[in-house]
Symmetry: C2
Subunit: 350 residues, 2 copies
Amino acid sequence: MVMNSRKMKILKAIINSYIDNGEAVGSRTISKRYDFGISPATIRNEMSDLEEMGFLLRPHTSAGRIPTDKAYRYYVDSLGEKILPSHINEIRKFIQIEVNEIDLLLKNSARILSQLTRYTSFIVAPQLKKTRVKRFQLVPVTSDKVLLVIVMQNNIIRNIIIKLNKPIPGDQLNRISKILTEKLSGYRLEDINKNLKRVITEEIYSIKDSVNMAIRDLIPYMIGNLMDMDDINLYSDGITNILNFPEYNDLSKAKEFISFIEDKNSVISMFQTVGTHDLDISIGSENMYEELRDSSLITATYKLNGRTIGKIGVIGPTRMDYKNVISMVKSVSNTMNEIIEKNFSDKNKE
Amino acid sequence: MVMNSRKMKILKAIINSYIDNGEAVGSRTISKRYDFGISPATIRNEMSDLEEMGFLLRPHTSAGRIPTDKAYRYYVDSLGEKILPSHINEIRKFIQIEVNEIDLLLKNSARILSQLTRYTSFIVAPQLKKTRVKRFQLVPVTSDKVLLVIVMQNNIIRNIIIKLNKPIPGDQLNRISKILTEKLSGYRLEDINKNLKRVITEEIYSIKDSVNMAIRDLIPYMIGNLMDMDDINLYSDGITNILNFPEYNDLSKAKEFISFIEDKNSVISMFQTVGTHDLDISIGSENMYEELRDSSLITATYKLNGRTIGKIGVIGPTRMDYKNVISMVKSVSNTMNEIIEKNFSDKNKE
DNA sequence: GTTAGCACTCTCATGCATTGAGTGCTAAGC
DNA sequence: GCTTAGCACTCAATGCATGAGAGTGCTAAC
């Protein structure tokens, strides 16, 4: 049995109809709604073939047919690269081109993505451990606490509050900040923590300066805290959107799904199983996780200086409006790239 | 008709039973489960009285009776102040006594509160506008961006990134930070923004110093950004917990509830309608919001230096395990107070 | 004042027949 | 040989009747 253009037309019609209504479609429906110039009986024959080929299945004898994961895959592949970004203006307006804090950008992007698609959106924040440090600044808070502000080379900023055993005189903090910046800028966060730990410590310890003792006191706390800071951050939005879809009218199913996507760790490892292309689509059974066997996942990346620094994604039922969702995911990722480029790229290096 | 001790015993038995099972309770059930030494028929008479008094109602003739909001109110009032905090160790362990960032404390508190109660928890973060500033520190980010770190007198820290028109030389930033701290520390954030805006501006403009021009450039941006920072922050957790309760098996009801509590603004204004006691309870129809007519809200406050700075709350069905929830809300609020006292109070003033 | 007995009410689950959508097959038509 | 009208068949969904079960109110006896 081989696919031909008429089978293809019918398959697409079935998929579109099913995506619209969520109801199994029969031969008469297709014949009436689309004017293919062939009778329901003929369509029945073709549908029977498509079923044999694994593109359709019947929930039960007297229902119509619904597309299989294979059919969605075929459909999505046939859409190809033709899908254009859309809603660009809406997205830009909502996300704001001028955004200074990357966290806000990610949060807003997750929100607009879930609002546009009506599905659940996720955004994996950039991991900082591979990022290089540009500057340290210590700020006194109380007698036994200092704030360590870290400015990364990509202009992302992180705060760590460090509790000291011995207070460091306030007037020494600027001097120490300067030394830390001199000695440590350009290193990756993870290197400061691991490999270079000893080297750096020695180098800094050897400083002939009045603040030597204060630094000695500070360093261990700093190293301990740097890594805590870097757990992967995840933004999500529209988790309860799925309650609007008939496939989750079964509450136990909805709960299973929600408890999966509410678990930060499962979602993060889910993101690690998908590809790393600019756009990846994972349909139903293609997902590694049992809990997502009825869901599709559309992911894209966002970049800084050409390097992927994070991922965004939308999860919805396999009966998903792929065309639109793909286009929106593309748009949001493009817009994010543009904004990140503008606000955080190397061009802005001091 | 007047309440007597037997009626009271029966009413409490009915409420407890209904809280446990969520099923209307009949006279035989009470007679069997509790050994009151009276027959179902007698209980029936008493129940009939209680119904007349407005404490019970029947969903339909052949069902048992369920408590009204008035009954819950009576029940809760009769619990009085006797309820003791519980789960203290669990809470402390989870929240961590040593917490440096208040945001983390709030997030963790919301989580443990929803996990313990199995309902939805909320925490309203402290508003900063009434808080006084302790220190400013500017940190260079790029040539056209500086980071303004604000340390409040309660040791809460906020970052604002300010985009400049004219770059400020890096070596002037520490000097400017010092001037800003000298001139502005002790003022409330809102005063810096509003009333004192002009005065402060003039005072700072009058500084005879080489950095005068830089400050003139900075101030307008700073003032514009200060207020943005202060939208009320809300943490919530366990929103989907309600799906576990039979009263929300009706999906449309669940959706109505979820879309209400997912809307930050409704929740914040809801918190503004409840009392400001250490503990407030709002049962079913006592709530101002139509969407909460079947829900109860238990709120408490948390304090810093004896002044209420925020609220915490739990929302669940009116058929709520009041005794336990009240006790847990009390515990969490107590633990928060303790931690805040330890880590953020005036005692830690420099 | 308490309680056993009883008629009554109402929901819920079950079973059964009906309906309707959809299919596959066959035979006739182009 | 492809297309299609006709028809028997299947199966979920719907509606309806029925009985069981839980609970009540009332009455009369204790």
